[in-house]
Subunit: 526 residues, 2 copies
């Protein structure tokens, strides 16, 4: 480990008044082009200073031959030139009194002994001058507070409370893109790269104290000082959830890490146990890391691990419950009064158990009544609701399929019957209006046309949100038709979390319940 | 178990010349409305006969008071009336010599003892008359060969070779919808429901011999005759892959099954072992079941389990390899000649190991050269390629972000510099054209504008397809930006499989390798 006994100035890093880009370029696809373009695209308002000895202007800005030619203070230097030239630039930055540098250049410690030697040299210069290096071999950083998209990829996150440290830059920015589609807002992002004179604990500590950050997520390949990491985490987890995806699992995973960052992953099981002790929530896959970021930043923490499940179609309830054992969840046992409440409006043959299958009931009002009954039940800590969300695209698609397709096929194959077909449908619609809301113990009384608005996602979003605020319990909606697109985005923006499969809903529920145990262990131990 | 020693007529079930719907209705949302609407919507061309004593016409078709009022033969009866009336309809159907009935009505054996008694009565009538009952409590069936969408939901599958039996109808049709988005084509679907006088083995056996079906997928909650099931499976798996999602895992999963279908799931581990012995491939989640259906119907079976991984961003390679151990996969060891081949065009600091990180190289030609080198390498049985697929939507979004956003922000915040900004970009573009294709050992030489077409998904689809045909090895493309939408759909339609995350790619690769072991065990034992 390098010596780095200087006081860091992370405030200047995340809120720089000026950014200088060394190696700034006009050529599409080069790092020196992408970074300033994304700074501009992200809406950064401070001074942008381009350094390139061979150009007069870069992206319209006057180009300086070297850092030293810049008058005035530089808060942050971005270095995007070949590795062997980086040390000289760092020396210049040191002379200018710069405190933070983002080194995107690769070909350092991740490559071999020669690269590692260069990296140590760069780190020594930085440590002597009190410069914090992000990288080398990094995709950069994002900071909400100064709209700083200092990134190698055009990712402009939603603003929010998720702080993210990633030891893979590419993976990190991609997960932010996934997050964007799910409506996850970020406060900060750090692609920590080779971490020449930082450790992941430095970032974790900063985010722990950062008022803009309420949820922390980490992608970890290797940690230099494990003890410090766990100690820092232990201080944070009672106040903010820390979620980590630890990469390099098993023999093959370790080999892949070696090929990627040249670091040794170490035995995963040991690390896993330590994470759990420090109250860190483990994400098992990249997908899950984003799911958990979305869930923890949108949902209240449950009081326990008993789950109420409502479903339109029993198979989905089973698919959700199938991972309950491994997630440490259990199906809530419904008390008598809830069962009698549900008896009032569910068909007589409903199962009278949890998961509550609403058995093909298409009276929207009844979906809401089931949701209310389960959410207000004291035996239920977490509610998973399935089959009640349509997804706008799917809804439109379904409308088309159920109306236009049959019409077109009548036209094609049975044209003589077409007017009768239309008359019949009209008659049925009239009957539905007459008999709306009718209770039928033998099953569905057909759709109630007066409920059209209630079938929209917006209606159910409002309902879920109100219920969550009222009951202070997480409600996880499964939107099986949406994947990552429109509805989920709108829902999460509205502060409601959706999972795209029942299994993913159960995993999220499990991690929420686990965090509730972290909190209560902390409260009993202090 | 009921006696059912009659010869089934599945050919009439899947290719009916006439379908009668008992309980046909004009009311939106009723089963008796949905089923015939979807039959029409799906393009069924045979006779549609509506049975409803209270209507003159249903959906434009003349309505018959009872089945007996219909002249001529009925190949298939759909029963959508309350449970207590079903037995009488079955008796009428028996008199008419009907051989197949789809009973959608619920409130039978899944409810309790009284329901079970009714179900036995219905089954007895059917068994005596030689009628196969699909259901009761089913969402219906689909059959490619007569465009028969006899389903309770408006799902009109793509035509293809996947045969699907699901013990949950709702889940089944939803998975077909997922399949549709992924370009998976189906040959048959059966929602087997309560299975009054069938067992899942009956369907499995039929699909095993069905020339329209090349891949079989199953969603299983419980099996009546386990021995027969495994025996049937053992005969099929050496010729067609059989993929099963077994629901009801652990204590909570079993409780959920009890609530859903009233059946006992039995200890999962026992079943899992038996499945493996019979050569059945296990899907662990609903998502995976669809992934595997897509993969097995699009990809060649590998010869082994050594995986070559190429990635634009090392973290993705790690995320993929992290599940290799549990999937029984290993990272292929690259031979010297492949490494020297890659040395020719990758930057000097590439890792010289598998996963092959193309380290930010944005020369498209080089992506293809890496893909070629790995696919043709004898040490590689399966290739996973990541970061080479953009996804159309993402590509357009990125174009917008990288060009329009910076432009707008220049306009807003730095309008005086805007003309210089545009001039700079033009100059950079001109330089890129002059220096196109230049080899630069220190990293990216910028994007080559002459490669624009090569950056489209269509270009890479063609490349992957050709390589797969030539090498007879599965190539799994990861499309991290697409989720389930446009690109994946188009790719799979083109016979190329995409996974939406590296972990899902690894799982699919693992299952393909597992099936290759099933095949080679069979070949050595016979």
């Amino acid at each position: 480990m390098q010596e780095n006994n200087f006081t860091r100035d992370f405030d200047r890093l995340f809120n720089p008044r000026s950014v200088a880009v060394v190696g700034a370029s006009n050529m599409l696809g080069k790092w020196g082009f992408n970074m300033p373009m994304n700074l501009i695209g992200g809406g950064y308002r401070g001074d942008l200073l381009m350094v390139n000895p061979r150009e007069e202007r870069v992206l319209g800005f006057p180009a300086y031959p070297t850092l030293k030619d810049i008058k005035g203070e530089i808060d942050l230097v971005v270095v995007a030139i070949p590795a062997r030239k980086v040390a000289d630039v760092l020396s210049e930055a040191a002379e200018k009194g710069v405190r933070n540098a983002i080194v995107v250049s690769s070909n350092f410690g991740e490559v071999g002994e020669e690269g590692a030697r260069m990296e140590r040299k760069v780190a020594d210069i930085a440590n002597q001058a009190g410069i914090t290096i992000v990288g080398p071999n990094t995709m950069g950083i994002y900071s909400k507070t100064s709209s700083l998209c200092c990134l190698g990829a055009p990712v402009f996150p939603l603003e929010g409370g998720v702080g993210f440290v990633s030891q893979s830059g590419n993976l990190g920015v991609q997960l932010m893109t996934w997050g964007y589609r799910k409506g996850v807002g970020f406060s900060r992002f750090v692609g920590s790269g080779n971490a020449a004179n930082t450790d992941i604990s430095d970032w974790l500590e900063y985010l722990g104290g950062d008022p803009e950050t309420d949820t922390i997520i980490l992608y970890i390949e290797g940690i230099k000082d494990g003890r410090r990491f766990l100690e820092v985490a232990r201080r944070i987890t009672p106040h903010k959830p820390v979620i980590a995806l630890k990469a390099g699992k098993g023999q093959q995973g370790e080999r892949a890490v070696l090929s990627h960052s040249g670091s040794l992953a170490g035995p995963f099981e040991l690390f896993q146990g330590a994470m759990e002790q420090a109250g860190i929530i483990e994400a098992e896959t990249t997908e899950e890391l984003v799911d958990l970021a979305a869930a923890f930043s949108a949902l209240p923490i449950p009081r326990g691990s008993r789950v109420g499940v409502m479903t339109l179609g029993g198979g989905w309830g089973v698919a959700a419950a199938d991972s309950f054992d491994r997630e440490g969840l259990e199906l809530a046992v419904l008390p008598r009064d809830v069962i009698s409440e549900l008896d009032k409006f569910l068909p007589s043959f409903w199962s009278r158990r949890n998961p509550v299958d609403i058995v093909g009931n298409v009276q929207r009002k009844n979906h809401y009544r089931v949701m209310d009954a389960l959410a207000t039940c004291d035996e239920v800590d977490i509610l998973i609701t399935m089959g009640t969300l349509m997804g706008r695209d799917f809804w439109l698609e379904n409308m088309f399929k159920t109306s236009v397709r049959p019409f077109l096929n009548m036209l094609r194959y049975r044209i003589a019957m077409l007017p009768f077909f239309q008359l019949s449908i009209w008659k049925g619609f009239r009957d539905s209006v007459t008999r709306r809301g009718e209770h039928n113990p033998e099953g569905s009384g057909g759709i109630n046309p007066g409920e059209a608005w209630q079938w929209t996602d917006t209606a159910i979003i409002h309902r879920i949100k109100r219920l969550m605020q009222q009951e202070r319990k997480p409600i996880i909606a499964v939107a099986v038709n949406e994947g990552e697109s429109s509805a989920s985005f709108r829902m999460r923006k509205a502060g409601v979390f959706t999972a795209s499969t029942p299994e993913r809903a159960a995993r999220v529920a499990g991690k929420l319940a686990r965090y509730s145990r972290v909190l209560s262990n902390h409260n009993t131990s202090t």
